[in-house]
């Protein structure tokens, strides 16, 4: 399985994501610099977390207009799987590949902690290794993770089953207390309509081995692997 991690100036989870991809899939990804207008054909494109361009203007706004993203959008529209984590999710909404926007957290503070997530769909290339309704624990670390879209858009993504994961309690129930950032519908991650693009605020790459405190994040990478190798 061949994957690419896109590196923007200010990305800071690019190494973590590459390490996780290699540890879980056994294949080392290529690192693609933001200025490159073209890159090798790959099976998965991953957009890492961090502060691309310092989050200046708006988180993800400038990265979405970088040369490499034109190519990423083109390939995503052709069906190539694209996974955006944290800042990568913000970049994906800024390019329009995913609907909605990520606003400043409701309490206006950066938040870094483990959260519980309910896996809403398991028939997708990113989540097939989880059980439907499974509750997993992985961390968030962001200042702008408050998912927002207008009412029509929310209805559409809910009706289409585009919600991938939602913030929940340890027992899987939804409450304001289990929502770390004020996201509408406790939404933590969404697919595009075709299902080949996933954006999520939580960081699965940070919990892929017990030494780090858990391995619930592995499933996302194992799922892609399963899909592509099968």
């Amino acid at each position: 399985m061949k994957s690419a991690v896109i590196v923007f100036p200010g990305s800071n989870c690019d190494r973590d994501l590459a390490v996780a991809l290699e540890k879980v899939t056994g294949f080392r990804p290529i690192m693609v610099w933001h200025g490159e207008a073209d890159f090798d054909k790959v099976d998965l494109i991953a957009l890492p977390g961090g502060f691309s361009y310092g989050d200046y203007l708006r988180a993800g706004a400038m990265a979405a207009r970088s040369p490499v993203m034109k190519e990423v959008v083109k390939r995503a529209n052709r069906g190539v799987p694209v996974l955006g984590i944290c800042n990568g999710f913000q970049v994906l909404t800024e390019t329009g590949l995913l609907p909605g926007a990520l606003m400043r957290n409701a309490n206006l503070k950066f938040v870094c902690k483990d959260v519980w997530l309910k896996v809403e769909r398991t028939d997708t290339i990113f989540t097939n290794r989880y059980a439907r309704g499974q509750v997993i624990r992985i961390p968030v670390a962001h200042h702008d993770g408050n998912y927002f879209a207008d009412a029509d858009t929310i209805r559409r993504i809910e009706d289409n089953g585009q919600v991938a994961v939602r913030y929940c309690d340890a027992d899987g129930s939804f409450s304001p207390a289990s929502n770390p950032n004020g996201s509408i519908g406790n939404i933590a991650g969404i697919f595009n309509e075709a299902g080949n693009v996933l954006g999520m605020m939580p960081h699965p790459e940070r919990l892929i081995e017990p030494a780090l405190g858990g391995a619930d994040g592995r499933g996302f990478f194992e799922s892609v692997m399963q899909e592509l190798v099968a």
Binding site: P9, D16, F51, F110, C112, A141, A211, L212
Partner: protein, 732 residues
């Protein structure tokens, strides 16, 4: 100001120089200095840069061990952790700026200490911070906490270095002078360490990073004076940080360091271009000729004076090997950073500054550095506090209520509200997160781990600077030991009041003496550090605060333990002995409302013996959870272990003649609380090592009990412990 200004006594005084110091400048120069030269002398001879009051004492600290690669004197210290790996670390204060402008002051404190580490070739892998604020009741405290925490997070989160540990306490003595001490730990290959000594006549001097503006001019001088009520007016001297540029600078510098292009490199920290060029020239015994017209500038019409004294952030100065300019420039351009050859190395031994075709400064480097004033200031020892016997301190009406008070008091309450605003997991190597005795960060790509902590108990230092200095070092050593790691070295951040007052100088001298004894006895040398004096407002000094940043090594993170209780039915043992020392304890302060008595004495031989035993018991897997006993004593430590493991306990020990509250809340040193599954084997090992251990209870249930009687439920304890800080910050 222009360079033709004549030097008046007022101008000399405004630069923080005494008449004697100015006379010395005249004799070094052999003529009246230009205003630019006066500015350079002023910052180089400031307390902040010259250590003129502290140098004579700092020399007494032990700085050597077989694993020390570089001790104090470089940008940061370096230790060997085996397998060709080296760890680079340092702690530094940013107290004055953080009080004036908390967000930017704290943020640029983080930026500065990061640069000290990656300047030497280390990739920063962890940040820590030690924070001291005024009384929670003081009207400014909430604003300062909020701004400092946001600033540390705003910078560290963006550069992508995890902030993994620290401490945060409150005391009215910091009402007018908070302390913000930031520490960075970096990782390098032992054979790829970079130093600051310039060499090679003719070699290019290169400026990289951000452009120079008018921010931070005279920051070093500000940090060398007392505060008064109009310190707010100094706000414009606080620099503004840009963590995005810092991140680019880290990547660009490390990329260039992988090539064979750099002769010497130094960050532009306090006193900016002046101190970086003077230190590089001085260490290399060479001269520098700088063409200031080539310095990248953010503002128009900057004078040489302003350029030499600016403390604009995210800048570095390098000496390159001849012919490598193009290669280096390509790397910095790729990262969208300024790159300019601004001068060359000369054989004159002078710092020569050119501006618009004229020489605006020409100072002999050696005397600028070597003739810097050095004072052996008069000092007075702190008089010993009268003894306080356990019987002199009343028992609480109820043990449970005393525990509630302590676990919810500002110093012991959970600091989750702070560390959840810091990205403590980026880089995906944080194997022990904030909240324990020390954080543990894995050495990337290996099974080794670094245990990291910051410690100091300022109330002990105030009561007895010598014992307090010992205790600060011993507690850092103990916290590292409690994870199973071997403590290797420390950095120190010496925060004190006005050294011109003999009682303050006596606190400094005493703390150094205590620290030196502890460092020697525990083989825990000082490899880097920083001194921050004049922490006074309107004559009120802070508590003496020699903050210690400690680093230890775990050979295998699989052998690490945490403070969390693990298994119902396991035994709890106390390692070490209790005399029920309540002088300067938190019980005395928080429950009895008194701050008196001497601090607990530290017996360094016992400290070492007990710690070495605990470490070996962790390595042998006899100990499955471990916590050092410090603030609040045994019952607080046990409560913290219970919360971390979500498991209760019953303490059923009998203390003999010692009153229960003295045994449970006394702060005797050299002690640990450990969870053990096989009690007999553990006791046998302790006997063999000659270490006193006492079985004091067992793990289980969802309540905290004393001799079968319930003190409090875990749920209530958690609520008390977790709610103080968020309530304080958010329900004003």
């Amino acid at each position: 100001m222009t360079d033709t200004l004549s030097i008046t006594p007022e101008l000399v005084a405004e630069h923080g120089l005494t008449n004697e110091e100015y006379e010395l400048i005249l004799s070094v120069m052999g003529r009246e200095p230009t205003i630019t030269e006066l500015g350079i002398f002023s910052v180089m001879w400031s307390e902040h840069c010259s250590y003129k009051s502290s140098k004579v004492w700092l020399k007494r600290l032990p700085t050597k061990a077989p694993w020390v690669i570089q001790g104090p004197g470089e940008n940061a210290g370096v230790i060997d952790i085996g397998d060709g790996d080296a760890v680079i670390f340092k702690m530094e204060s940013h107290n004055h700026p953080s009080y004036i402008e908390p967000y930017q002051g704290a943020a640029t404190g983080v930026g500065g200490i990061l640069r000290d580490v990656f300047t030497m070739g280390g990739r920063p892998i962890a940040n820590l911070n030690a924070l001291r604020f005024g009384s929670p009741d003081h009207p400014k405290t909430r604003h300062l906490v909020s701004g400092v925490v946001a600033g540390i997070g705003g910078y560290g989160n963006c550069v992508g270095v995890p902030t993994v540990a620290g401490e945060c306490t409150f005391h009215p003595a910091y009402n007018g002078n908070i302390l913000v001490n930031a520490m960075t730990v970096g990782l390098a290959r032992k054979d790829r360490i970079f130093y600051s000594a310039a060499a090679g006549v003719g070699n290019p001097v290169v400026y990289v990073g951000s452009k120079t503006g008018r921010d931070g001019i005279h920051g070093a001088t500000m940090a060398s004076a007392e505060f008064t009520e109009d310190s707010e007016e100094k706000r414009p001297t606080v620099q503004v940080g840009d963590p995005f540029t810092e991140k680019l600078l880290i990547e660009a510098c490390l990329e260039l360091m992988a090539e064979d292009a750099i002769v010497a490199i130094q960050d532009m920290g306090a006193a900016g271009l002046t101190s970086s060029s003077v230190e590089m020239a001085s260490k290399g015994g060479v001269g520098f000729e700088l063409d200031l017209d080539r310095v990248p500038q953010r503002e128009e019409n900057m004078t040489p004076y302003e350029m030499m004294l600016s403390e604009s952030q995210e800048r570095m100065l390098m000496v390159l090997k001849p012919g490598s300019e193009a290669q280096a420039e390509a790397i910095f351009r790729k990262w969208d950073l300024d790159f300019a050859v601004i001068g060359r190395i000369t054989d004159t031994g002078r710092l020569t500054l050119k501006h618009e075709g004229e020489i605006v400064g020409d100072i002999p480097v050696a005397p600028l550095v070597d003739k810097a004033p050095e004072y052996d200031r008069p000092w007075e020892p702190t008089p010993p506090a009268p003894a306080l016997h356990p019987g002199d301190v009343p028992a609480p009406r109820s043990l449970g209520d005393a525990l509630r008070t302590l676990m919810g008091c500002p110093d012991l309450a959970s600091k989750r509200w702070i560390w959840e605003q810091y990205d403590h997991m980026v880089m995906a190597d944080t194997v022990q997160r904030p909240g324990g005795d020390a954080a543990v960060v894995r050495v990337h790509g290996t099974t080794k781990g670094l245990a990291l902590t910051t410690d100091c108990t300022p109330r002990y230092c105030k009561a007895d600077p010598v014992e307090g200095g010992k205790q600060a070092v011993a507690e850092a050593w103990r916290n590292i030991t409690a994870t199973g790691a071997k403590p290797l070295a420390i950095t120190d951040c010496m925060n004190f009041g006005n050294p011109e007052r003999p009682i303050i100088m006596g606190q400094f001298a005493g703390a150094i003496q205590g620290m030196a004894e502890a460092c020697t006895a525990l083989e825990f040398p000082v490899i880097s550090g920083n001194v921050s004096l004049y922490n006074e407002t309107n004559g009120e000094a802070i508590l003496p605060t020699p903050a210690i940043g400690g680093v230890g090594l775990l050979k295998d993170i699989d052998c690490m333990v945490t403070i969390a209780l693990k298994t119902a039915g396991d035994w709890l043992y106390m390692v070490g002995e209790s005399a029920g020392h309540l002088g300067q304890s938190l019980y005395l302060r928080e429950v009895c409302g008194r701050e008196d008595g001497p601090p607990p004495p530290v017996d360094l031989a016992i400290e070492r013996r007990n710690g070495d035993f605990v470490r070996s018991a962790i390595e042998n897997r006899q100990v499955v959870a471990c916590h050092d006993l410090s603030d609040g004593g045994l019952l607080v430590a046990a409560a913290e272990m219970a919360l971390a493991g979500d498991l209760g306990f019953d303490l059923d020990a009998d203390w003999g003649s010692l009153p229960d509250h003295a045994a449970l809340f006394g702060e005797d040193q050299g002690r640990y609380l450990v969870e053990v599954s096989e009690g007999e084997a553990f006791e046998a090992a302790a006997r063999a090592a000659g270490v006193p251990v006492k079985r004091i209870g067992f793990v289980g249930g969802d309540t905290l009990n004393r001799g079968g009687e319930r003190l409090i439920s875990l749920a209530e304890l958690r609520e008390i412990h977790e709610s103080w800080l968020p309530n304080y910050m958010e329900n004003a």
